[in-house]
């Protein structure tokens, strides 16, 4: 008889929490509870995965439902003395909302949990998976009892059909149809097989279910056996899941001891037995025909379908093959009726789905939500958004068979129908979030590498085709690709999709096609510009900082010189790519710092500050400019003395040309002079860098508007042979909102220009104006 405790401490013992240290926390609790003599009052229970893996080890204390995160064994003494004994909760261990840093006490107030609807995971994290009695207390085996004593097999199949349950392993095939097809086959034996191979990298819901609620699977498989006429079940578990295998074995033993598995269950005359079979590290064995071959002791190669497993499956007998998560929903459906399940979700995608959130997201872990929830809600409200202030780039759904979804489609409701339209698939529910530092071409390469390695080799399109695709993408990543390679890639993808024997090959091109669809520019940048904007592909990149710099300034080089105190050489390096170090040292948005690898340690290097310092040290750059090519006396006219025109003039002078810049305003500089205010970019700094260019040989004529004061024909007559138009894009586009044409509303550039000329602007008595940019 279980004791009635006044408080219960639930320790999450899911795989992730265990590797974060749950076991030492548990030992500490046992010790401390003993020391404080609370063993009669406080119960200690280890449960399966609670889902929020990022913040483990997790401790939940009832009756208050207080949620403690990242608990270490050193914290336990305080929890026991303060919370359990004296009732004072330990705030420093509360969950902190990522955006606001607000502390949240109760588990059911944390968005991650509040927004979920748990059916498959109903018991995970709430019961002790190694105690069948807790499963029973939570209503377990009641569904089996009901089915065996009160329902005929066709009625069970009916409820599954009504529920609208579809295969949760990835294909989404209607489960009711599968069960009926198997039930309709004559003869014995028949088999029930559970696919617990879970090969998709990024998916771990099946593992959590096996570790956290193994009885749910046992009950479901037995119900299935009854419904279709099978007496033997097999669970095919991947070898990489030792803890899941251990918990399942224990659960099977306990079920047999209690007479809930074996002969004459619930006195109905129905027998059922389950055996575990281990996988051996082959992704393709997640495919149903390959899986069955593996159970039969063969190489895990798939075969053509039809015949489908329902007709001819394991050992050539009629077989139901379903995924762990699919089975986990069955007891709920049988107990509460198919309609209860069908009230959740959308018209064609009923019920709930478990998603594994991983990658660049704050709250990694497992969540179960109703079908039809928008993807953005899962990533941001449940997942807590992207860490470290980075930008969202895409989310990969469906593993190596799936596709990526960019920000533009975050509103998409997650259903079996909506995702294929975007070029992705639901798959097993693995959601890998990616930030701006992920190269989508590299990602496609990653998946292709995986598929090419896991290809079983039986059919040529997959065996050879995936390798060729991999070679093509590799070349593109290394900056050796051509535009023809892109064409070949797309053509090959189509062929492989249509002619591969099994799902592995048929879906192998998906990641490539998906990244091409939404991130084609990145492929083209790799090919044409030899540029990887995410700073990942090492072969075409020097360093992430210079890669991110729009002028490709050799940042590591000038920082190295600066470190030695050789500021002259540092400046010389900079001037090769950018003639405005002092200016940019004050106003550049410093994309280099965003990519600085040092951020992973204690913080980025102050690249811009160094630049400003080294250039401020010197007034005269003459000796530090690159060597000039001998003069060729050919004249070039540059129209507009803004940053583009001045830079163009700079490089042309270095190349030996005779360059004159014509500027319509009184002073040169363009937006640097007439938009950026003096307190941000001092006039004298601007003047210094422009006069250095003049010293180099660049001629600037201000107050001359080409087209008004002088014409192009005039300039040609004067001997100018080429013209560079850099008059700027100064016209503003006013937003189409009410009130935009009222007095007191100014375009931003006009306002800034007037301020730059020190002309007073009427901002109204009460200082109310609108500034549009």
């Amino acid at each position: 008889m279980k004791k009635a405790f006044r408080a219960q401490v639930l320790l999450c013992a899911g795989g992730a929490c265990i590797s974060s240290g749950t076991e030492s926390v548990r030992d500490a609790f046992q010790r401390e509870l003993g020391e404080q003599q609370l063993n009669e009052e406080v119960g200690l229970i280890t449960t399966g995965c609670m889902g929020m893996c990022e913040v483990g080890p997790i401790v939940v204390i009832y009756p208050e439902g207080v949620f403690y995160q990242k608990v270490k064994s050193e914290d336990v003494a305080e929890i026991v003395k303060e919370h359990l004994l004296k009732g004072r909760v330990v705030q420093r261990l509360f969950y902190k909302k990522p955006s606001t840093q607000e502390l949240v006490q109760a588990m059911n107030e944390i968005d991650f949990f509040r927004l979920q609807e748990k059916i498959a995971l109903r018991n995970c994290g709430n019961i002790d998976p190694e105690d069948i009695r807790e499963y029973i207390a939570a209503g377990g085996y009641e569904a089996l009892g009901k089915a065996l004593t009160n329902m005929a097999p066709p009625q069970v199949v009916e409820q599954i059909t009504v529920s609208g349950l579809r295969g949760r392993g990835g294909a989404g095939f209607p489960t009711g149809i599968k069960w009926r097809a198997t039930a309709d086959q004559p003869g014995k034996p028949k088999y029930v097989v559970c696919n617990a191979d879970e090969g998709d990298p990024g998916a771990f819901m099946d593992r959590s279910l096996l570790e956290g609620d193994p009885h749910s699977l046992i009950e479901a498989m037995t119900i299935c056996g009854y419904a279709v006429g099978a007496n033997q079940g097999f669970v095919y578990v991947r070898a990489e899941y030792p803890l899941a295998i251990q918990r399942l074995e224990k659960a099977l033993t306990q079920a047999r001891e209690m007479g809930l598995l074996g002969k004459n269950l619930f006195s109905s005359g129905f027998d059922f037995n389950i055996e575990i079979r281990m996988g051996a590290g082959a992704f393709v064995c997640g495919e149903e025909t390959a899986l069955m071959h593996s159970i039969e002791g063969r190489r895990g190669e798939p075969r053509p379908k039809p015949p489908f497993p329902a007709v001819k499956g394991l050992f050539d007998r009629p077989t139901v093959l379903n995924n762990v998560e699919t089975f986990a929903n069955v007891p709920y459906i049988v107990l509460n009726g198919g309609m209860a399940y069908a009230r959740l979700g959308t018209e064609k995608s009923k019920g709930t789905k478990v998603f594994a959130l991983a990658g660049d997201v704050n709250n990694t872990g497992l969540v179960e939500v109703p079908m039809g929830m928008p993807l953005g809600t899962i990533v941001y409200d449940l997942g807590g958004g992207i860490p470290n202030g980075k930008k969202f780039k895409a989310v990969q759904i469906g593993g190596p068979s799936g596709g990526c979804i960019p920000a533009a489609h975050l509103n998409t409701p997650v259903t079996y129908e909506s995702l294929p339209q975007l070029g992705a698939i639901m798959g097993s529910g693995g959601l890998v979030v990616m930030n701006e530092d992920t190269c989508m071409v590299d990602l496609a390469r990653y998946f292709l590498e995986f598929i090419a390695e896991e290809s079983c080799g039986k059919c040529t399109p997959c065996r050879v085709g995936t390798r060729v695709m991999l070679e093509l993408v590799n070349r593109i990543c290394n900056g050796q690709g051509t535009m023809e390679d892109l064409e070949r890639l797309e053509e090959l993808a189509g062929v492989i999709q249509k002619s591969s024997l099994c799902g592995l090959g048929q879906t192998a091109p998906n990641p490539v096609l998906s990244t091409l669809r939404y991130f084609r520019e990145e492929y083209i940048e790799h090919i044409k510009d030899h540029h990887c904007r995410a700073g990942v592909c090492q072969s075409i990149m020097h360093a992430p900082c210079s890669n991110a710099c729009p002028a490709s300034v050799n940042v590591p080089a000038y920082l190295a010189y600066a470190k030695e105190g050789n500021f002259e050489e540092a400046l010389r390096v900079h001037l090769r790519n950018n003639p405005f170090p002092s200016i940019c040292g004050r106003v550049c948005p410093q994309w280099c710092i965003d990519k600085c690898r040092r951020s992973d340690l204690e913080g980025p290097l102050a690249v811009r500050a160094v630049k400003r310092f080294m250039s401020d040290l010197r007034d005269d750059y003459s000796e530090l400019y690159p060597a000039k090519v001998p003069a060729n006396n050919r004249k070039v006219a540059v129209i507009g003395a803004g940053p583009a025109g001045l830079s163009c003039g700079y490089y042309l002078v270095l190349l030996g040309y005779d360059v004159t810049v014509f500027e319509r305003r009184e002073e040169s500089g363009g937006l640097m002079r007439y938009a950026i205010p003096d307190y941000r970019l001092p006039r004298k700094i601007l003047a210094k860098e422009i006069s250095n260019l003049e010293r180099l040989g660049l001629k600037i004529k201000t107050g001359v508007a080409v087209g008004r004061d002088i014409s192009m024909a005039d300039l040609r007559a004067q001997g100018f042979e080429a013209f560079f138009m850099s008059s700027g894009a100064g016209h503003e586009i006013m937003p189409k909102i009410p009130g935009v044409d009222l007095p007191g509303v100014y375009p931003g550039t006009a306002f800034l220009e007037q301020a730059a000329r020190s002309q007073p602007m009427n901002v109204g008595r009460r200082r109310r104006s609108g500034i549009c940019c």
Binding site: K2, A4, L10, E41, L85, R133, E142, F266
Partner: protein, 118 residues
């Protein structure tokens, strides 16, 4: 397992001990367990409360601890909050008084005036 009744028996037995995780309590008893409370004997009070509840077969009442409320003179202090009714604070609750509170207030529904604080 012979039949559904056997299953349900186990379920009901074990369920009582897991009730605490459901959040459905019709009443809450809070025992002051600050240093003063413990010094005045709150631990014995706590054990007596739990024992009495178990004997009476009650499992929809939460029992928790709290810190020092500042009325050290009258410790051990016990608050009883029945859903929908104003909370009642009891003072100087020893083991015997604790048992009385369970029998008369929790089970019987009448507060024990003689023990009320103040």
């Amino acid at each position: 397992m012979k039949n559904l009744d056997e299953l349900r028996k186990i379920r009901d037995e074990v369920r009582k001990s897991m009730e605490i995780r459901s959040g459905n309590h019709r009443a809450k008893i809070v025992v002051g367990m600050g240093t003063c409370g413990i010094a005045a004997g709150a631990r014995e009070t706590m054990q007596a409360l739990m024992g009495e509840l178990e004997q009476a077969g009650i499992n929809d009442v939460a029992v928790t601890a709290t810190g020092c409320a500042g009325f050290c003179e009258r410790e051990p202090l016990v608050d009883v909050e029945i859903a929908g009714q104003p909370a009642v604070r009891y003072g100087k609750v020893d083991a015997a008084a604790a048992r009385k509170i369970v029998q008369e207030h929790i089970v019987g529904g009448r507060k024990v005036d003689s023990l009320v604080f103040g």
